[in-house]
Subunit: 292 residues, 2 copies
């Protein structure tokens, strides 16, 4: 399941709770486009903001509407006990894989982080992807730690931040990680760089709403056409600009509203929707780039 | 309740879960010393790491053993819905006040943070203390935002980081905040500075385990003896050094073990106990400073 395009959909939330119809609308776009996997309740899927019950429901909906596409679920939380609860919930609701970031409240030592992954992999019966996202989670993996964690039974992928997705770094990562651990790029604007440098997966935010545009890039990478990959990613630069200005989750939420898949205001509180002017910019970029 | 010494106890956690006996042991020290309030499930109380059920239980135990001392409970979480659940749980279990930090996953605007506090105060029926702790929570209050939030009905205190507890800053804070909002200092090494600069409360980590030592400092402040306050805080410098080196929560957990109140290993995972050498240093400082 850790290959090609892994689409990370939004979880639309309105004042009355999870917008289940909206979420199913979004999932339908992904299954129709035939993405390689679904990454629900990722950062873009608002795992951090939802209650345990809401996360259970979102996972169950995703499993029900995945149409046979492998389903990965993020189980991040500060405490190991919380993570284990979420791991159980996700597997019970139908997750095929787990995605685990390191959330830091107090700062953590490498041994503490290793023990967290060791505990979770021992406890779970599905594969796990290590989520390395220092910007959001405040934890930076050293290479030594990443090697230890990637060697744990059950660890089958590492999701790396886009800034690490350049050729020299990728070569060194590929050398130190087990061959059977898939390296996946995140940070959409770095997708081309990552895929061209040998990432096996793109953990994609824009692919969670615009799977056809993302699919073209992954297909070009599969065909070994690195020029086309770079071109396609460069073509989407106005979208990456919006991501940098507003944050990708806020842009994707507005876009889901613009497409009529959910409300314009579909972010879980405390997040609030972008102002009307920003939404107009987003709509204009969607038209310009034929994101539909 | 927002006055004097507010003691923030550890929540001891062993492999079998909350160490209820250990927690009650610690509470007994605080009620015997007659602290002015209890701040359970603060950062030192490991709120970030515990499950919802564990937090309910800890609050209920604290309410049962508070001996009439007002009880404040931290309800921090990333999502507003999660915070509201915790606010309900805390009040149902007997909290007299709520403590609310701003946890940031995606970065938040001032308006989003204001709306969070507005929602929670409207939803709750007990007073609220604003927890401003940029180092742990990644959110920095501007003065403009603090003024807006402090004006909300129900907000009765602001817990400020120690580095802000110096006279010029305190004067300006006192000027911009409503007179009925108590300013409380945190970051124990800054307690003297804060109390001497006019803080009405000390939200105290060491007071959560060594209430008598902390009590002396607050008593001196109440008597207007700023020299004695500074002297007492300076006397504890070896303890502050340990806090800086290992993190105060890790030092307090080791100290609770050394005192026989819980196990030496009483931190919730992923946090792990300090190595034996550090525990020996802590024991030596406790002897030297007569912390018992």
């Amino acid at each position: 399941m850790f290959t090609g395009l892994s689409a990370f959909p939004l979880t639309p939330v309105t004042p009355s709770g999870i917008d289940e119809k909206g979420f199913v609308n979004i999932l339908a776009r992904l299954t129709e486009a035939g993405v390689d996997s679904l990454g629900v309740l990722g950062s873009t899927g608002s795992y951090a903001y939802l209650t345990r019950e809401q996360k259970k429901r979102v996972t169950a909906l995703a499993a029900q509407h995945a149409g046979g596409i492998p389903l990965m679920v993020c189980i991040g939380a500060y405490g190991t006990e919380q993570v284990l609860q979420l791991a159980d919930d996700a597997q019970t609701a139908g997750a095929d894989a787990l995605l685990l970031p390191v959330l830091c409240y107090q700062s953590l030592t490498d041994d503490e982080v290793y023990a967290l992954y060791e505990t979770v992999t021992r406890h779970s019966s599905v594969p796990l992807c290590v989520y390395n996202n220092p910007r959001t989670t405040r934890f930076e993996f050293s290479d030594a730690l990443l090697v230890r964690v990637a060697a744990l039974p059950g660890v089958q992928s590492v999701k790396i931040p886009g800034v690490q997705a350049e050729p020299v770094r990728m070569q060194s990562l590929r050398k130190i990680l087990p061959a059977e651990v898939a390296i996946g790029v995140s940070g959409d604007e770095f997708a081309g760089q990552g895929l061209n440098a040998g990432c096996e997966v793109w953990y994609s935010v824009c692919g969670g709403l615009f799977p056809n545009s993302a699919r073209q890039i992954v297909d070009a990478a599969r065909a070994g056409d690195s020029g086309c990959v770079s071109e396609q990613v460069a073509r989407l630069e106005p979208l990456w600009q919006l991501f940098r200005r507003h944050g990708s989750i806020r842009v994707m939420a507005a876009a889901a509203g613009i497409l009529g898949l959910s409300d314009i205001d579909c972010l879980p509180r405390p997040l609030q929707p972008l102002p009307a002017e920003a939404c107009r910019d987003i709509a204009a970029v969607m038209t310009q780039l034929e994101l539909r």
